[in-house]
Symmetry: C2
Subunit: 399 residues, 2 copies
């Protein structure tokens, strides 16, 4: 197995493009990803009640499980835009479908950006035409650029390996930035593969990967209206359909998870104003729901996030956040670790020097361990620090 | 009824002092409030699992319902400090009791500040002695100063009125700043009255006031380990014990609530980095728990808070936060208002000009209305904006 360039167009039979059409003030804002043959598809969608038309649209299409293209725009989420928003979303699918000579029901749409404003449809149509004209087998990078909003770096990753005498590939691109929290976020991720995989097995692969990757990160505790992770398989490598529990299937699961993990980490690293990453690892919980609840409370605590930004080993904030999440643990059984260092145990601060603690929080990636002393369940969340830059970005991001 | 100066020492028979003893680097850090006769007392304590020894101590004392004094320090929360912390807390009560010639069980202790570090007990003892020596009938202001941590302004309020030919008074002081969220926060509030009120009725008064005041504010969504609201009644005005449901009792409830409300608002106004206040009013909920859940999600949303800081009428963030809180409302029944202006209704953005929206978010105190269209319950939370200053303060606050 090896990491290769090429992102979402690394697998055989996929092409992509990213163009500027005028939704944003500058920078690419419209992406198109197509398969040269019908592809099976699966997806995970936001659970926010205020779902954008593109999410509703995706839900219908995903039931059928076959598509040819994804059209995505940044700069405008086309959410809370009423009947016009629903029409505009459909028009995006139809315009793409017309150019490709396929039914609109084989086109997925994704939008990210400001909520509550109508899409400038003339620009969007021009953008779709221009993206269609620029489709390339090496277009992943420009598509990855075109889905960014306030994030700074395109996020791409691909892995290939040999099986049954053929090279097979899985690749992906993602965008994140603000509104990144468990249960997705303003987060789009598109994955492709040239393996032949039925929709049911694709869904299974996402179900195994997403909870521990895209749903186990947080930037600001917000959940967006437009999130989606999509995974397309077009069979371009010419192998027979994957069988559940076959060795290739297990490799596929492993690679999908690795790609999701890499893209998810990139999302946090490129989160608004994020300068440093930290992982909250909760152990000793009575259930995994409980472990996740504690991990989220700590990972989203503003005081914990600012403490990471300030490289301050103020573990009392971790204790306070753990205590605030409504889990009836016994304080005398709580254990807190900064990196490898136990700093609180048995109801008492451990006798460790401030210098030793400072060393732990001075790592580029901090791990905070919290054991609740109640059971064997555990959970892990990756988070980023909170800096003045986050506030600057979000106080200025114009509606 | 009238507002008068004097805060916690405005009622007859109370004296207070605030001194510097060296727990903080500078500024007063130890406060003493005493009644010249035994006073009935009631309190509301943090529900954080990691409670400081002073909270555990208060819980015991409040069961008996009679005290003479509150000794409070800032700069160190004496929390997560193990057996030593428990001893130090008791020593604070004992030192105060010895100087006053009363049992230690008549002294409440409150601490606020950094977690996990031992109290410098020599300084604390000196501080208690010096505060005792400086007790004054006009000492409220200096006590209010001595309980501050990162908040900037002492918070005091008192109201008096005439009843049965006597003037009766209720007064209070508070501190807040960071870690302010529903279910208290790093929040201390001490109220006094010279009415004669049994502990059971005092508890009733707090129970009616706290949920709508101190528990209906948020600065950063954090809940502290040390919060308490205490209310002492010493009968100094010479009236017979208050009867439940009497006119004086109803006046008393009203005044306690007004004082809690005023102090709570001051806490948000003086929250870390807060420049502007906003109220989230949720209506149309199926239950008040549900209303409160939605109100908290919106009031604590970093994107909503930064939007207020930036005076940006980006109401889509309010919609996204409402949608993220797990309440199954129908998007087409959701209604969002900025001030008096309906901006989203029936699944569609209202046709209001950006100028009109800008005017609404340019008020010194913004009201955001969210109707869930599910029932008749409602809830209100007061919050402050999130600015770069909050991050600056909390990245630097040394452990």
């Amino acid at each position: 197995m090896q990491t290769i360039p090429g992102g979402v167009t690394a697998p055989i039979g996929f092409a992509a493009a990213g163009v500027f059409c005028g939704i944003k003030k500058r920078g690419k804002d419209l992406a198109l990803i197509v398969s040269n043959r019908p592809a099976a598809v699966a997806g995970t969608l936001t659970v926010n009640r205020m779902r954008a038309p593109c999410v509703e649209w995706a839900q219908k299409i995903l039931r059928k499980g076959r598509v040819r293209a994804i059209v995505a725009n940044s700069g405008n989420a086309n959410c809370c835009t009423g009947r016009r928003g629903v029409r505009d979303n459909r028009a995006m699918a139809e315009e793409t479908a017309k150019l490709m000579g396929i039914p609109a029901t084989e086109v997925l749409v994704a939008s990210t950006g400001v909520i509550g404003q109508p899409l400038p449809m003339e620009q969007v149509r021009n953008g779709i035409r221009s993206a269609r004209a620029q489709l390339k087998r090496t277009g992943s990078h420009s598509a990855a650029e075109a889905i960014l909003t306030t994030d700074l770096r395109p996020k791409e990753f691909a892995v290939c390996w040999k099986t049954a005498g053929r090279v097979v590939t899985v690749g992906g691109i993602a965008k994140g930035s603000g509104m990144i929290a468990p249960h997705m976020a303003t987060m789009l991720a598109f994955l492709t593969t040239d393996l032949t995989v039925e929709p049911a097995l694709l869904r299974e692969a996402l179900k195994q990967a997403v909870p521990h990757t895209f749903n186990a990160i947080t930037v600001d505790g917000e959940m967006s209206t437009n999130d989606m992770v999509l995974l397309m398989a077009n069979g371009g490598a010419g192998l027979p359909p994957l069988k559940k529990n076959s060795p290739v299937y297990r490799d596929f699961l492993r690679v999908v998870r690795e790609i999701c993990e890499t893209l998810a980490k990139e999302i946090v690293r490129d989160g608004e104003g994020v300068t440093r990453l930290f992982t909250v690892k909760v152990t000793g919980a009575a259930s995994s729901t409980e472990a996740m609840r504690a991990a989220r409370q700590i990972a989203n605590s503003l005081l914990v996030k600012t403490m990471v930004a300030g490289r301050d080993p103020n573990w009392g904030r971790v204790a306070a956040a753990a205590g605030a999440c409504g889990i009836p643990f016994k304080p005398e059984r709580l254990m807190i670790r900064l990196g490898l260092l136990t700093v609180f145990k048995g109801g008492e601060p451990a006798s460790v020097s401030r210098a030793a603690m400072l060393e732990q929080v001075d790592q580029p990636e901090i791990v905070m361990g919290v054991d609740l002393g109640r059971g064997k369940a555990e959970a892990k969340i990756l988070s980023g620090d909170l800096t003045e830059e986050y506030v600057k970005i979000n106080a200025k991001y114009t509606s």
